[in-house]
Symmetry: C2
Subunit: 409 residues, 2 copies
């Protein structure tokens, strides 16, 4: 294996984050390397949801005055330190698609220079590109793709807004947020950062990077539950301008005045739309409360150590089996390992799942393994690598059952 089980256990003994694992409800016999798709369940989330069900039953409509109504801002403030934002700069609401649309409308509505190009990334997870296309088609803007691997600087002419992922969901490559933000601003454009694969995966510092706008989801590394609401960040100096187009009553300056005319709230609240679900906010709040105790530097250190351990355990084997390791170098990496085998990748992931090692497969040939420092131990990583080795060496991935395709999220 290259690395001994004893070594992995020693790393666990030294792990300052080891205390978080018991706070997650993990199924028996599963080694979960897919927290970058859907995070595991915090034990406290269950209790929180039960509490909100009690509240619905017993308090009925009064619940809206007992914490439900202001949950988007309260949870935004809980999340803010995890992404380097200040209090009042983050609201938890809707999904990433909708939050990007709001920001595109908000930003372009304030421009007076006539720029009408919105740039999004080709070859990335399509959410950002799809909504940028819908926005441009409806608002009579021009949408362009930044080709995968292209130099951003070569594509910024005439651009009003660019939407960029901080961490690429396929390769796990981490962008230099500070440098790119500066570059985009210098070229007279704005950037919306998509933190779907970075929030909770590594230290993000929106304020220090000069970032003005960002979105992200809470159901991956932030463990908010399946389809938990997304978040939207707007720097405090950029909250006062114009409308965002999805003007709902919860984003009104005086929602309970029930005036006919819309007037946006003066702060981050303007990015809310209509009535949100109290139930899902309570699950997410339980998870976000836990994040207040997480040392983000220790999280990053463990994340890099886990991804390195996994690769060290497998390096010789991957070489023999012709599997390419495209994981970026430590400084340019999110919290995932990305391997490519165009011939057997799909079957390998299925064979691993049959062994209880949950990873993710994306065409063509991409195997993604996410490493979540809060609920994975180094021994988990070592055992996952051991399964990988046994599965490859036994050739069990060649069994026909591992080659049957079905919809995979």
């Amino acid at each position: 294996m290259g690395v001994s089980l004893d070594h992995a256990r020693e790393l666990d003994r030294q792990d300052p984050l080891a205390g978080f694992k018991p706070h997650f409800a993990l199924p028996e016999g599963v080694l979960y390397l897919d927290g970058n798709s859907l995070g595991a369940q915090p034990v406290s989330a269950r209790e929180a949801v039960a509490g909100t069900l009690d509240q619905w039953r017993d308090e009925l409509i009064k619940g809206w005055n007992q914490g439900w109504f202001d949950a988007p801002e309260r949870l935004g403030n809980l999340l803010a330190p995890v992404i380097g934002a200040g209090q009042g700069e983050v609201v938890v609401t809707d999904n990433i698609t909708l939050n990007i649309f709001k920001l595109l409308g908000y930003i372009t509505g304030q421009r007076t220079d006539g720029r009408r190009v919105v740039l999004s990334e080709g070859g990335n997870f399509p959410t950002d590109g799809y909504i940028a296309q819908g926005f441009c088609r409806f608002g009579d803007f021009e949408h362009r793709f930044l080709p995968e691997g292209a130099e951003l600087a070569d594509h910024l002419d005439g651009v009003a807004v660019v939407v960029l992922s901080q961490v690429n969901y396929r390769t796990g490559r981490l962008r230099d947020m500070a440098a790119i933000t500066r570059q985009v601003h210098e070229r007279g454009a704005e950037v919306i950062w998509d933190l779907a694969h970075s929030a909770g995966a590594l230290p993000v510092d929106l304020n220090a990077c000069g970032a003005r706008y960002a979105v992200g989801c809470t159901y991956k590394y932030l463990n908010g539950g399946p389809g938990a609401p997304a978040f939207l960040y707007a720097h405090r100096d950029h909250q006062g301008g114009g409308w965002q187009p999805l003007s709902g009553w919860h984003g009104h300056a005086a929602p309970f005045a029930f005036e006919d005319d819309y007037a946006p709230a003066g702060d981050i609240t303007r990015f809310r739309t209509g009535t949100h679900s109290a139930l899902i906010y309570s699950a997410l709040e339980a998870s976000l409360t836990m994040w207040a105790d997480v040392d983000m530097a220790a999280l990053r250190e463990k994340s890099l150590a886990m991804t390195e351990l996994f690769r060290d355990c497998l390096a010789d084997l991957l070489l023999v089996h012709g599997i390419e390791d495209i994981t970026p170098a430590a400084g340019e990496r999110g919290s995932q390992v990305s391997l490519v085998d165009t011939e057997n990748g799909f079957a390998i992931v299925q064979a691993l799942i049959a062994r209880g090692v949950i990873g993710d497969y994306r065409e063509p040939g991409l195997m993604r393994f996410g490493f979540t420092p809060l609920y994975l131990s180094f021994e988990d990583v070592w055992q996952a690598a051991r399964h990988f080795r046994e599965m490859l060496e036994s050739g069990e991935y060649r069994e026909p059952r591992f080659h049957v395709r079905s919809a995979v999220t």
Copy 2:
């Protein structure tokens, strides 16, 4: 009281819907006349949410292939019969604000006659007007208000789309959906019906009325839980045109192909946006499953009988105390009683709440009482009226504590 308790009890004995009440978890000592704001909790909702929490914990990412992903269409099909829609014509997704925006973009994007006016109702719940204003501002359309009480026919010149509530949230007045739909179509416009206060309150027959587009919420009479997702209806003959502007990956024709270019699904799925919460869908599904057994004609009969009973119990008293009953006649009524007392309305509602009779107050002077046939008995209605009488006759609403204002949803 005008009506005896024995009479109310006799009505309960004859009530074909009496069997539904035990399926709701209602707090002790509460007479809940605010189901038109937030519906009560079905007993089965709790179990359903617990099941989805188990699924998140045990199945993790696999849950998306075990009913989570297609919940918007599955629940839409469960809901369809309640609103007179066919299978494949309803999707449960996002909130009303967002669903109206999608339909406005979808409808106007298909018009070729240059009409650019969107009409919404003044004096109604502001959701529809707020998003119509945001839509028009962003898309360079013209927004106009239909003044309260005005003739629709006088305001349809040049109108592309009008957004109308089937039941007014203040007065409870029910519009003639068939006649108005015909009228609007004859004038070359489209109408989006807002069913927030009619779906689950009375028989709605979208198909029979010739309605092409509608939206509504599920947390009032449909009992889906606080902030449960909204629904969107598009007639089967009107699902094939153009894009809706909030183009997310769940509305793509092939969401798992992860193509760069957006292409809308050919059916109702095109109105989905991004990832939704499995947790809230399960609570709503439990409730919607119950609706399959509801006889909508019996529901309407009971609704009218309950609102009449409440009014009969109070008629003489309201007269004495100068409280105006603005509840429309039976054929023109939703499922609520609306009373006006501009001097004491607020305090009266507070004094009733203190007695466990939950109603709703809106400026100026409007007291709204919603009657939900599935979990209210005639005796409940009689007892609520008795409290109303005692509270008025004792003058206890004059106590200073009932005059303190705070935010009310």
